[in-house]
Assembly symmetry: C2
Homo-oligomer: 305 residues x 2
């Protein structure tokens, strides 16, 4: 019996509650092989589209207050966590192998001195005109940037995760063979101010959070499920080639040569390297579609120490 952290992209979850429920039936099927073999499992999901939707609903609605980002993240953990635990529970019932499963609302500690708070990079929420953007900069203190010709968006920090506040609850549940959904959306970002945990406007990359989770709960393997079946060199070029097995040292060379796209494959690779380097255990980046093969390291890109 091994211990796995599975990182699941928010884009795999659709745009509405109904779509999310339908898509999660496939996700549940895809990860069922690990459940069936009684492995310890923590699922960390993304929440990009969902947290944006929640934030937008509050900002567009005229009778509700604006909702700060940490609270939107907490809402997304409830919303997505409920659907994941429901889908996997139903899948297990159908196959007569029921293990307890639940979602732990998770705060993730970041450092207010993280350079990410000086250099804001993560665009979130709605698009605004230049004039609206300037008004928001003045009234709310937001930093607004032009985003790919589509208008202005708020950017917030994307700091590195340092610790998982609810790690003991997650560990205790794992010890009892419960399946745990945690650190959804990378976790609710909190910093320490005067000895208190305080929510902060930021987005923690869910792959980094998965790597930190895998390190803390002493996972045997980190599995990052995404839309492509392998990590590719020269992606989308005629010279494109899939990586099957690769060492951290090799991967670092490819990193230097800028093979991987920022905001897409790059954070997954950096997260995988962080886990493999700190634990000397393997990480796999694979597609959700071929997850069952990836669990046997027969699909995807296996990253070795």
């Amino acid at each position: 019996m091994s211990r796995y952290v599975i990182s699941l992209g928010g884009n795999a979850l659709g745009k509405t509650a109904d779509e999310q429920k339908r898509l999660l039936v496939h996700v549940a099927k895809a990860i069922y092989p690990l459940i069936e073999m009684n492995h310890d499992i923590v699922i960390v999901h993304g929440n990009g589209p969902q947290v944006g939707m929640i934030n937008l609903a509050f900002s567009e609605s005229s009778s509700t207050p604006d909702m700060p980002f940490p609270e939107c993240g907490a809402m997304s953990q409830g919303y997505i966590g409920y659907h994941i635990q429901n889908a996997i529970y139903n899948m297990m019932q159908q196959r007569h192998q029921v293990r307890p499963i639940s979602t732990v609302v998770t705060q993730v500690l970041v450092d207010e001195k993280d350079l990410a708070f000086k250099h804001l990079t993560k665009p979130i929420g709605s698009f605004y005109s230049e004039i609206e953007a300037q008004a928001l900069e003045k009234s709310q203190g937001y930093t607004m940037v032009e985003d790919s010709g589509r208008g202005y968006r708020r950017v917030i920090a994307s700091p590195k995760p340092i610790d998982i506040i609810e790690k003991e609850s997650i560990s205790r549940l794992l010890e009892h063979q419960h399946i745990v959904i945690a650190a959804g959306g990378g976790g609710i970002p909190v910093v320490i101010r005067e000895g208190h945990l305080v929510g902060i406007d930021a987005v923690i990359d869910k792959d980094y959070a998965s790597a930190k989770m895998a390190e803390i709960i002493k996972a045997d393997e980190l599995i990052i499920l995404t839309a492509v079946d392998h990590v590719y060199l020269d992606f989308n070029k005629p010279s494109q080639r899939a990586l099957k097995k690769v060492t951290v040292a090799e991967l670092k060379e490819y990193l230097k040569d800028e093979h991987f796209k920022k905001g897409s494959m790059l954070p997954k690779i950096e997260a995988a390297i962080a886990f493999v380097e700190s634990t000397h255990k393997p990480a796999v980046i694979a597609s959700l579609e071929f997850a069952s093969e990836a669990f046997k390291q027969m699909s995807g890109t296996v990253i070795m120490p």
Copy 2:
């Protein structure tokens, strides 16, 4: 060391994220005596104003889809749970006694044959004009009723809780002396259809859910915290008198005489009776303000077998 379920009203949590955070500092202080004495604690919170706000944000916003009620409930569990676990964590840090605390996203089973689904009683969400209400009845299949002269509102079922799906996760955490926040808003209501758990538009009363929780996790006492310091007979009349200690048999006589207000004190009393009758343990209905006295049964109304 005893095991407690604390039921906390959604009205004690304010209308905005900031207000909720401020108010929860007081809640954390109020229940700290139980934490300090190392008792097992499950906190079940209400979500009336919060789930209404979430539902309204999505229905008013023009670019987001409408959000079904079970999903709004799940979001409210993340939102409120995060703030409660954060507030209590900070309180414990300050007093140098740290116990793990976390929120478990909780589905609560109800029966689709519950008469509540025939006789819808729970008004939720925004107010509409008569014409808008008729349009919604046609287009969405909603049941709309006139609410106290303020306009038309959707009504949904308020069925009784039968089981708590995540009870094993909650129990395991309690065994390890973790503080658990669960079944927020009465839980996400689910029914069984063709062997599957399916979310359903309904609101489970959080006091009934607390009583069911207390029964399932074998609590020694159910504590319902509210805005009044006792249960009163002839409430708001010159003959008003507080109940200090009362047996279930006595309370049932008062129920017959219609001493208690529907949608307010009545569900608390019915929930307390349900717990005391099924377990032969006491329940206390008390004010948040005098919680520490209530924990010693020195304030509030103690309901005995």
